[in-house]
């Protein structure tokens, strides 16, 4: 009985199922609350799954290995963001120059304020290096964190939290900041909250979602180039 239970809670079948059920409940909650910003499926799923794993004494490393099947599709899903962009392609006209200037500005601001705020609030250099790449999407921020001597798995967590922050509060904050243009809103959300922000943007408006996806890609590129330079200057 005990052996079977141990086998079950560590098997990919259980772990993938748990993930799908957690996500499904998250979507259910979002629909039931009429799309309340706090009811982001990813957030609800993380809380439910995290609780279940600690109750069942399953290590995170085992969970991560068992759900590789799900994480694998993040790559193809990133490629898939070309589709909303293709639908909005004509709206790129007259927007290329603002976009190509705003994204690097955003990357510099994200990296520099991460490092400076960590240091000002008494965090050590390791934390600053771990925080610095968090605006880039997960596979990129993890690789960058490794390159500059941060803690890659913790960078992944900080990146996801930044994404959830965008999904929860991004649209409301942009309205407060008086950014009304759909393209500018998408660009801003994708630049700080990558794919998770993009998924919220797509729910808000197709244009916003398309530009958020594009911004996520450009931000990954800008962060990769600018991060080593800024780390060398600021740390």
């Amino acid at each position: 009985m005990r052996d079977t239970w141990d086998w079950m809670v560590h098997s990919p079948v259980f772990l993938v199922l748990l993930t799908l059920v957690g996500y499904r409940l998250g979507r259910e909650l979002r629909d039931r609350t009429g799309g309340h910003p706090l009811a982001q499926p990813v957030l609800v799923a993380i809380i439910l799954i995290g609780t279940t794993l600690s109750l069942a004494h399953v290590d995170y490393a085992d969970y991560r290995a068992g759900t590789e099947l799900i994480a694998f599709w993040l790559g193809p899903a990133t490629v898939a963001l070309a589709v909303p962009l293709h639908r909005q392609a004509r709206r790129l006209r007259g927007f290329v120059v603002p976009m190509l200037m705003a994204v690097p500005v955003g990357a510099v601001v994200s990296i520099a304020t991460s490092i400076l705020l960590v240091r000002i609030c008494g965090g050590d250099e390791l934390l600053a290096r771990t925080m610095a790449p968090k605006a880039a999407t997960t596979p990129v921020s993890i690789a960058l964190s490794e390159g500059i001597g941060g803690l890659p798995p913790m960078t992944a967590v900080l990146t996801i939290v930044a994404g959830i922050l965008g999904a929860v509060a991004g649209p409301a904050v942009l309205t407060l900041l008086r950014v009304r243009d759909r393209r500018a809103r998408g660009l801003a959300l994708g630049a700080v909250s990558h794919g998770i922000g993009t998924s919220r943007a797509l729910v808000e408006d197709e244009t916003e979602g398309a530009f958020s996806g594009l911004s996520m890609g450009l931000t990954a590129l800008a962060t990769s180039i600018l991060l080593p330079l800024l780390v060398a200057v600021l740390l």
Binding site: M99, L117, I160, T198
Partner: protein, 119 residues
């Protein structure tokens, strides 16, 4: 569905190979996104294209794909608590600064270019 997913994986593979050959500092899937964008553009793909339907299906559940990495937060709860102040201030502060920087820069440049164009 399978044909569409095949296209997505093929674009990703082309992206990953290009990145490795050129040592470009970009993730392979992002280059794959650019490759698919060009393909869709050249072929003038419509809503009925298999790749379009597969892409919509995957994107609808984008949040699901972040769950495995996100659950990692349970491992770092202790570390997060120990360094709570710098982590929360830097994460929220820098997120807000980045959001405002991109939003405002874009809007100002759009206005500037529009006023120059209309003159």
């Amino acid at each position: 569905m399978i044909t569409g997913l095949t296209w997505l994986l093929a674009c990703q593979l082309v992206g990953e190979v290009l990145v490795r050959l050129t040592h470009a500092p970009v993730p392979g899937p992002v280059v794959g996104m650019a490759v698919l964008f060009l393909l869709l553009h050249v072929r003038r793909a419509g809503e009925d294209a298999t790749v379009v339907r597969a892409a919509d299906g995957l994107i609808r559940h984008l949040q699901l794909l972040f769950v495995p990495a996100g659950v990692g937060i349970v491992v770092y709860l202790g570390a997060l608590r120990a360094d709570a102040v710098p982590i929360v201030v830097a994460l929220v502060g820098s997120w807000l600064a980045g959001l405002a920087a991109v939003g405002w820069t874009t809007v100002l440049l759009e206005r500037f270019l529009a006023s120059r164009g209309s003159r």
